[in-house]
Symmetry: C2
Subunit: 801 residues, 2 copies
Amino acid sequence: MSEAESPAPSDRPVYQVEPWCVREPELRLDRLAQSESVFALSNGHLGLRGNLDEGEPHGLPGSYLNSFYELRPLPHAESAYGLPESGQTVINVTNGKLIRLLVDDEPLDVRYGRVHHHERVLDFQDGTLTRTVEWTSPADRRVKVTSERMVSLTQRAIAAICYDVEPVDQPIRVVVQSELVANEELPHLGKDPRVSATLESPLVSEENVANGTKVLLLHRTRNSGLRMAAGMSHHIEGPESLAVDTESSDDVGRLTVATRLEPGQRLRIVKYLAYGWSSQRSRPAMHDQVVGALAGARQTGWDGLLEEQRQYLDDFWCGADVEVDGDAEVQQAVRFGLFHILQAGARAERRMIPAKGLTGPGYDGHTFWDTETFVLPVLTFTQPDAAADALAWRHMTLPLARERATQLGLAGAAFPWRTIRGQECSGYWPAGTAAFHINSDISDAVVRYVDATEDIRFEREVGLEILVETARLWRGLGHHDVEGVFRIDGVTGPDEYSAVGDNNVYTNLMARRNLQEAAAMAMRHPDLAERLEVTTEEAASWRDAAAGMLIPYDERMEVHPQNEGFTNHARWDFAATKPEHYPLLLNYPYFDLYRKQVVKQADLVLALHLCGEAFTAEQKARNFEYYESLTVRDSSLSAQTQAVVAAEVGQLELAHDYLGETALLDLHDINGNTRDGLHIASMAGGWSGLVAGFGGMRAGGGRLRFAPRLPGGITRLAFRLRYRGNRVKVTVTAESAVYELLDGPGLELRHHGEEFMLADKPVELPIPQPTSGPPLSQPAGREPAPRRIDPHGGDARHRSR
Amino acid sequence: MSEAESPAPSDRPVYQVEPWCVREPELRLDRLAQSESVFALSNGHLGLRGNLDEGEPHGLPGSYLNSFYELRPLPHAESAYGLPESGQTVINVTNGKLIRLLVDDEPLDVRYGRVHHHERVLDFQDGTLTRTVEWTSPADRRVKVTSERMVSLTQRAIAAICYDVEPVDQPIRVVVQSELVANEELPHLGKDPRVSATLESPLVSEENVANGTKVLLLHRTRNSGLRMAAGMSHHIEGPESLAVDTESSDDVGRLTVATRLEPGQRLRIVKYLAYGWSSQRSRPAMHDQVVGALAGARQTGWDGLLEEQRQYLDDFWCGADVEVDGDAEVQQAVRFGLFHILQAGARAERRMIPAKGLTGPGYDGHTFWDTETFVLPVLTFTQPDAAADALAWRHMTLPLARERATQLGLAGAAFPWRTIRGQECSGYWPAGTAAFHINSDISDAVVRYVDATEDIRFEREVGLEILVETARLWRGLGHHDVEGVFRIDGVTGPDEYSAVGDNNVYTNLMARRNLQEAAAMAMRHPDLAERLEVTTEEAASWRDAAAGMLIPYDERMEVHPQNEGFTNHARWDFAATKPEHYPLLLNYPYFDLYRKQVVKQADLVLALHLCGEAFTAEQKARNFEYYESLTVRDSSLSAQTQAVVAAEVGQLELAHDYLGETALLDLHDINGNTRDGLHIASMAGGWSGLVAGFGGMRAGGGRLRFAPRLPGGITRLAFRLRYRGNRVKVTVTAESAVYELLDGPGLELRHHGEEFMLADKPVELPIPQPTSGPPLSQPAGREPAPRRIDPHGGDARHRSR
């Protein structure tokens, strides 16, 4: 169903609020595309949107393979040196989810006939999407269909569907067509630049085979020259009189099962799907790889796959779960977020984690800085191997990043602002190439991971080289002025409503850390440093640049300007800006946005979180207050940082409001674009707001620190973390925090600044009285929706704006 | 001939140095495209490149009608609010210059057979291009061809060619085909963004008529919906046995004359050409308009047209000529420049004056700020009506400029950075939309014209509204900071190697003047001001903003930063920049250029010239020295300003070098892109360098001021100016200046600060001793070519670098 045909969305809730699943109690055609994203299944390698089994109606059909992309030209009205001329776009690969059903020759289509019952449940513990439908065909045949779908977290190439059909009251003839379809027709997505470019028929057929219940389709992309294979194999249970047939052509593979079912009889088809792709491997090799994966999955069987999935997830939750009492929506959302972050990163294995995961084609399927800044912290403390893999992917792209730096006339490596395979794909350099902070965001993720895991092998094989090359970049990007101050001019910070400014505070602080950590890490590994040609002189020059780094401060306003001169600019006229003119970037020129004090997303405030050591407590409070009044949150990346810093400066209720906004972004489709895929960085928002915000968790230098404090609406918060071989559980109430070592050798922690050892025995420590700050104000109309306490229940409610 | 086929250019001079013409003594196939631009004829309405009569070989065929354009899409890799999605491109219209010759069935083509003699002369006094060829065909038939071509300055729609053929030694059969050809095939111009987009077959045929010796072709453009008509009519003289035939089809009109010529006999064909275009008028109206123009031209006759042309030019030179003794190249160049400026502006009549005039398709045929800043000053003091017309065109586009301001969320009017008809066509906003100074450049041209002419009617009908709307723009674009300082943030000044900076000194000074002059002009015309809804409060707010305008100054470096923070930036590493890496914009990303101290073209130095009153003499000298060391002159607009300011600060020899560079830019093809059309702003360079530079001419507030001083290489300089109904001649030698009133009521002048009345009697005043400044340095390898004194002659020579 294309946008134009969508029924007008209704305001009633789409999903039920439950702690361990997302349940859609009735089919909401007005929210179809959103639900396809919410119900997407993925293991980081293979992603299937939550399309209905029968394919139609759909919001947007989607099956994705991590890093399988096509090239498209990037046109420029006025070309210039260094602008990328070709972009990479994720493509919808062969759809293996399709299972069509004919009931007495009438296709099951929820738009026709009568739907008596339609429920879908995404289960965070089972890792499955279950659908139950009871439907009467226009010719009055009633049928019950149950389908359960999974993308295996244990068998990376595999997805599987268990599809059951039963007649309800009278005998029916059923035909089930299980399909593989390549080059599906996609709805046109309109002109919003944030939505993926639609590429028509990107796959060229190379081979198709049908054999028994098995079908295989091999394709390659036209321009990027990548090869993929998709295969399906089936296990069929039903009455004895089954007619089974398979066929294949260039773009379609089909298994057809026909039978007659009496009431009480059931047809069950287990469909095993396997996917693979490669830029190098031959057709026979790809063929065999997929056939092999199918054989493995069949050997495990449907029940076996379910069992493996459950075990994998049990293990994950046991080191990652977050419990929230008092705000059931946030409880659901934080687990929903953790589940999708795991899905995005679990088996990416040296591929990128895209901004939308594998849940939709938004942002062309690219990865940005948000993966390292928002997603990897969650994985680092819950599923550290996945964080290491994601950084190992960055390491693999170093040759391309070095090439890009050379092209830009810079030293070291310049990682791309947006990419799938490592090449810069940004078509607008002021908010792309100029946003050099991505380099320190990556190096900071390395430092964070190494600190949290003491993974020396990673430090030597992956970490050091990234740090060295980014330090080289910063050293060359900045310069000493006549007074010896080290300046980084003309770069863009996180806030995309400013660009190409001098001495962005966030960038300079992160670059300073990058330079310092690179020098320290090189000192720890002199042998490797020598191999990377790091001399003591070079390391000294990094320390020197870090020591001289300019951190601008506006003495008059007593705040840090986001970048030099920012606080002199005119304030945006918020009072005159109508609600429908947000997001501002769709209604005002960059020219106007860049020259005024208006902030799309936390920038200086992100520095308050990630570089807290550079600010006094008063500076944090004053800065936060100042930027609160300027920040419009037109980026989904903003609220979680505001939640964390609001909590730190004692604005606990405000922090709770922002927590709600970030955690519920996709479940409530707050930005209206969940259709294009989930905001994976916002999936981290619930965790960040709860753990870093109300838990006050900070890590670094081998120390985990906490400063827990709860808002009125949350009566209890408990979370689990992994740190240096320990699994720690922290349980917070209004009065105290209990620290518990679940396993591991024990460690020193800090609670509101006070050090203590955590070993066998839990430690309970009191929470100091909060000093609530002054009421803060946001730009007119941009206040977060309050999470009010329900006087009768205790549950917080989200009031949508 | 496409670029790929061009012979390698040789270094020997292409043109002879003569005071009143450009003579090409032999055909230089290696400079064909350059010569087509140099030899272009135009009256501002119709322009014909100097293509050979027979059409081939060519560098680039070109016939243009002012403001006749086609639309083309402006693609953006990432679209954004306010970016223009459609651009305007000048198109090559029906070619009426073609006259093909067959000699005993072999076509005259200089690439075959033998050329004994080939000379072309562009005469600045006659306003004609004359060509004489003596050629032997491959079959050994020798023929002499003389053609003379003009685009009439007196009959705006008309061009004419007088074409003579004579046998040299034996009888020949000749066939002459005089043609009109639409949709000529154009060579591909490569990827340089500064070169026009080639549009294939942009004209759709509407009508074609052949009748007697007359042929007419009517076409319209596909997307912009403009209609044009081109007609030709012939007068033929020759032997009695002439066979004449005409024919026409959609895209071709042809008159064929066949005869046999004995030695001593001659075939002469006078071809009258008429062009017209309209966005509104009907086909019959366009048809009749062109036929009428042809009838008028035939009535005047070839000799009559020549006579009118000569008179028109005599009148022009008599108020505009500049004489230079001691530097014959500059003497030729300054007249060449004045001639082409006259051609670009004379009969534009409420159409724009494009950056390339009508000499080539470069810059898509757009007009930019250079017209108002560099070209209109020359016209204001030599051909003031043409300056008034050009500004009246800007006035006509005010509704579009108001619309654009509204789109950008601004008050008043925002004139486009580049356009043909008034709509913004810039595809790169940081160097387009953000360069708001164009608005004050236009208003300054209004103020300059009114000051020079006291044209009250213009002030009331054109000037006031432009000033009011631009003042409104500035008032809204800037803001008062907490200390009451008026700031203009986030705009781009003239220098395109910086962008989107705060408080560009040039912009702020020009905006200040714009605000002041608007308030003053509104006060002079209270009736009109009321009609434009200018209240006394609004005018007061303009004065207030002007009074509070921030002009940043770097106390530490004792210079004015080009914009706030500029002098803190790293200096470009000039020593490491190879000569082949200029122009920098083709070899470095904007990102790198914007963040460093490197100047493409005079910006702060342009402020020293145009807003000299804002600087002390010492500040001028220090600023000039500082920016000299940073300015690479990758823009052809730079050298003339550097020449003027160098002269003012006493750097006379350096001024002479820059004068040579700007004046000879196209004659010597210094930038290698004269093929795409002449740099009309540089055509003003010779005049500016001599009159404003060595003459020290400044005007304003009803006063003409001079501070003449000559460099060693120029022994005498004389120039004529029109000012407030007076025609003044100034003759400068090393020792003194003589001021003469050629006609007019007389006026008060200033000579090196000293006031005197100039009436009937010439006044001779001594030149104070020059105080030569310290030697200045330019970026390594970017020194201007010195104009050395020839010890044996006295003529300066240009040494090309």
